[in-house]
Symmetry: D3
Subunit: 153 residues, 6 copies
């Protein structure tokens, strides 16, 4: 049976850190579905179409990576698309504290869906979308933080 | 002299984790006053009457547990009702970092009011009201997270 | 029924931080038994008689504080002396991570024994017996770290 | 190509926490090799034959789980047996801090070997071999911490 | 060459914790520029003129401490005023997790600007502007948290 | 007056992470004295002469960096050589928890000696002497962890 994993997030925007985790996960799973969670309450810097377009450009040659949007509970979405795995990148202990809680909760709700944590590479461990947005807004140099595809835009 | 403790929070909604801490604290203290902090700036999922009603149902047979609302500084409220103890449940290191700060601050302001930390049981350590609200909004199954009294509603 | 708590540790030596937690706990409980765990594998800087003597001197006027030695599992010892509470002081997040584990384990083994965590006062939060021993060995000034009774010796 | 993962540790002794992680990992990988690291400097409570025997009993019906011993660097051992994945269970933030360092180091030395972190289930998050050994030595009840196969011994 | 450091923050309001870090930093650097970051999105309790006035009063006798406002990226501002150092006070592990990320990011963007972390004194480690604002709003006693100059106002 | 800082440690062996912190600190201070703490209780992998020789080779062109040995309390040693600053590199939250305690303790004992924390660069944040020793003992490739001077040996 095909092993499908989702990599959920808002990707506002996708960073070099995300790209690295996705490339590493795509070797382990048959399919990695980058899954953009839509939350009508939240304000985004980049609109959903722009975020999808960047992701498609970055992974256009990677056959087992795709991108989808979703709303509602992550575990319900996993069931709907047949994914048994949730992949999350973890950078800091604060990240871990949060991810552990969510992973345990999801497992209580859906014992057959497993969360897999992958630590970021040291050179990407300080890159978060939150901070990168701040740099973009203030017109700083993002070349060490963003995939080349975003820098061209 | 009677030993009175408050258990402050917003209880939006009360969870199995809260219930467990309150039941354990009620053996140590003569009275535990579940104290719902009201903050006009904050938006709640459940209105105050609903939150009180659930708590009253859960603890209707527990004579030394009661529920009250309050606003203003927690230490001022403690003095007003004669409570010398503040009980807090702690789940994660992030929780602890926050609670330690508040406990030390309250002690500086009112040296005779003591904060008592109780660690959640392992099986409840991943349950937070924030995450449970998310599940409720998305119509997920909350049976492992909420007291039976809330599930009937 | 009398509420008995133990405050376990090796107290090699007792510090101002320990003294503060004990004094605060002695207001909440009817009896606080300072309980020196004996471990034949471990090397101590001060022998057991010296450690007991210091504690007795410090709390000689505090009727509900006493000192005992024990070996074996802490929960077995609690049952033997009728204590239902274990009090622990917590200084840092690393402390908390450790104490939470032990508290949850003890509760699994003996559900009727409760662990109560009290945060150290800010001015004592950097004092650990380990570091104080280092200062003593290197003949540094310990006056900000040790009770007066130890400094006289 | 077959996906082989190792689950390294000293398993002195194997706990319910280990068993749970191994069972969950065995669904994701084609083979999980429980790999007991031998370190001549370290003292163990149970000898290596006993530790192997318990593991074999527990997983005797699980065809894609096996047990091996190794010494030297973990990444060298992975290469020797053709494993591309290292699985680690993570219970606390202190665990994570340590595992992240090791994972990043292993990746620097062998970029093609990936470390996969899985969070323990809440009900096992307080169980460590270190603490369980303490309970065994002091003849406490280990039934909530150890697989049934060990309790029969 | 003169060694200039900035101490950035919103200082809403300046606390005893800030004052301590600034006084300690002013011995190491030739100039410490207290730098109030202006963010039009954020709501402040005290307006910018009030915050500047308090800081000027506190440091009126300290010749190498000054106060300025800035907007935009901190590293761009540093270059504009010739500062090679950013000083940050750190109180808790959560603080550290955050500051480490920002420091690493700033260094990637401007390798010649160095971030220097100083730990708060134990007696100030529980004081944050966030919590102090809460106390002010609720008319609590701020005398242990704020410089004398603010209490007179 | 000349600003002298010590950078204390056991440097068993010095790593790329240490080298980076020292080079960054040497721009801020007039002199950085790499200070090898000698502890007769501890076993080292490399003898003291070897450790000194490596450090001298690495910094032979850096006039304001030198190397010394010391025993006893770090603050006493600082006074003896006229150093007012202690520099420490911090990699993880566990590191920080430890360093904060030591910094606060040293300040209590010697209020005029200041501790300065510098975060490691992301690419060095996973390198610790402990782990590097393990790799050396097991004959792994240390080229990403050790200065070139050590690799030639």
């Amino acid at each position: 049976m095909s092993k499908i994993a989702i990599f959920p997030g808002s990707f506002d925007p996708i960073t070099l850190g995300h790209q690295d985790i996705i490339e590493r996960a795509s070797k382990l799973f048959d399919q990695v579905v980058i899954s953009i969670g839509e939350n009508s309450q939240k304000k985004y810097l980049f609109d959903i179409d722009q975020r999808i377009k960047w992701i498609e450009q970055i992974f256009k040659d990677d056959k087992n990576v795709s991108v989808k949007c979703y709303s509602g509970l992550t575990v319900d979405y996993c069931k709907a698309i047949g994914a048994k795995y949730i992949v999350r990148g973890v950078r800091t202990t604060a990240d871990f504290d949060y991810e552990k809680n969510i992973a345990q909760l999801n497992q209580k709700m859906s014992p057959d869906i497993e969360t897999i944590l992958i630590t970021s590479k040291p050179e990407y461990s300080h890159i978060s979308s939150t901070i990168v947005r701040e740099i973009i807004i203030n017109k700083g140099n993002t070349s060490s933080f963003l995939p080349q595809e975003l820098r061209l835009n």
